[in-house]
Symmetry: C2
Subunit: 201 residues, 2 copies
């Protein structure tokens, strides 16, 4: 059984990662979308293992100690992280796994899992990102400046990715990511077993 | 303007290269299929620059001297070769080019043009190749043995390719090659210009 592929969709906040991933999951129904762990309180509509893996602060810190995360970070007093175990289990089962993480986390994944396929999603024009960041109901100019600065840093990371996809038409973006995933499974180095028929010659 | 991609479809005789290429050309109408040069006499229905570039023996030998071929070979007293100039012109114009060549020629292309994408087409089961080789109206067992030996050698070359595609369902094969081509255009190293929007930050 061949291992599944680990594909990381990353890029600045507001670029449209969630929509692209949603489309890809529809295109490839067998994929597993990696669920994050968090110490934040579950909201009424959130389900364990679907929305998040809900952890106490102590549990989360034990997991950090046990090196159980690909990456983690603290935002507004809560931890968020990408647990390794559920991802690795699916990969072993031959299931492709998709991760939605920020560029800093993406670099950590690549370090721990060099065969991961890193896709940087960008916009056709930066004004689109800016408009989306401004449009999130936060009109505080200082906060927007901070987000733009963050986006700027994230763009500097793009050359370290394997692929860059311009998120212009949603259908095209899904198709591009689908092609990246499909092509990655056809690499000669991973498919030499297909040549075993040579023995029958 | 970005250069076109050079994609080489190769594999043993009888594996279905022509059908796959025909399907790919329909899927990607803008592509250019590289036309071979030959010293063989044109048949009544054959057109210069469509079926072949027809050359005299002297012309062909001059081209060899001028290093004008990616690869060439002599079969049954006639030369056949892949001229560089028409391919390189299309690539410069941003047009993708597809080559249909035998594994030995494919290795020469890779040597001269390292960015070429090499696809080895294989069958689901070797008995399919054998049946097709036998079914070409040549029932001479010695000739068949020779062809099978050639196919065996060609399989040994497959690990040197970039991709291996199993030609099981024709539509799937076309889709796989299309994905390989599409993904190759999305590689980060070739698309850093897409990040120029960073300057607007």
């Amino acid at each position: 059984m061949k291992k599944g592929k680990l594909i990381v969709i990353s890029g600045p906040s507001g670029v449209g990662k969630s929509t692209a991933i949603h489309g890809l999951m529809e295109r490839c129904p067998g994929m597993y979308f990696s669920v994050s762990a968090t110490t934040r309180e579950p909201r009424p509509d959130e389900q364990e293992g679907v929305s998040y893996w809900f952890k106490t602060r102590q549990e989360f810190q034990s997991m950090i100690t046990e090196d159980a995360f690909y990456e983690y970070a603290e935002y507004s007093g809560n931890y968020y992280g990408t647990p390794k175990a559920p991802v690795e289990e699916r990969l072993r089962q031959g299931i492709d796994v998709i991760l939605d993480i920020e560029p800093q986390g993406a670099m950590n994944v690549k370090r721990l899992c060099p065969e991961a396929i890193l896709v940087f999603l960008t916009a056709k024009d930066f004004s689109i990102i800016e408009a989306r960041l401004r449009g999130r109901g936060d009109t505080d100019e200082a906060a927007i400046t901070k987000r733009l600065k963050q986006a700027r840093w994230e763009y500097t990371q793009a050359p370290r990715y394997d692929y860059i996809v311009v998120n212009d038409t949603p259908a095209r973006t899904v198709e591009d990511i689908y092609c990246i995933l499909t092509a990655s499974k056809l690499r000669a180095a991973d498919n030499l077993d297909l040549l075993k028929m040579e023995e029958s010659l």
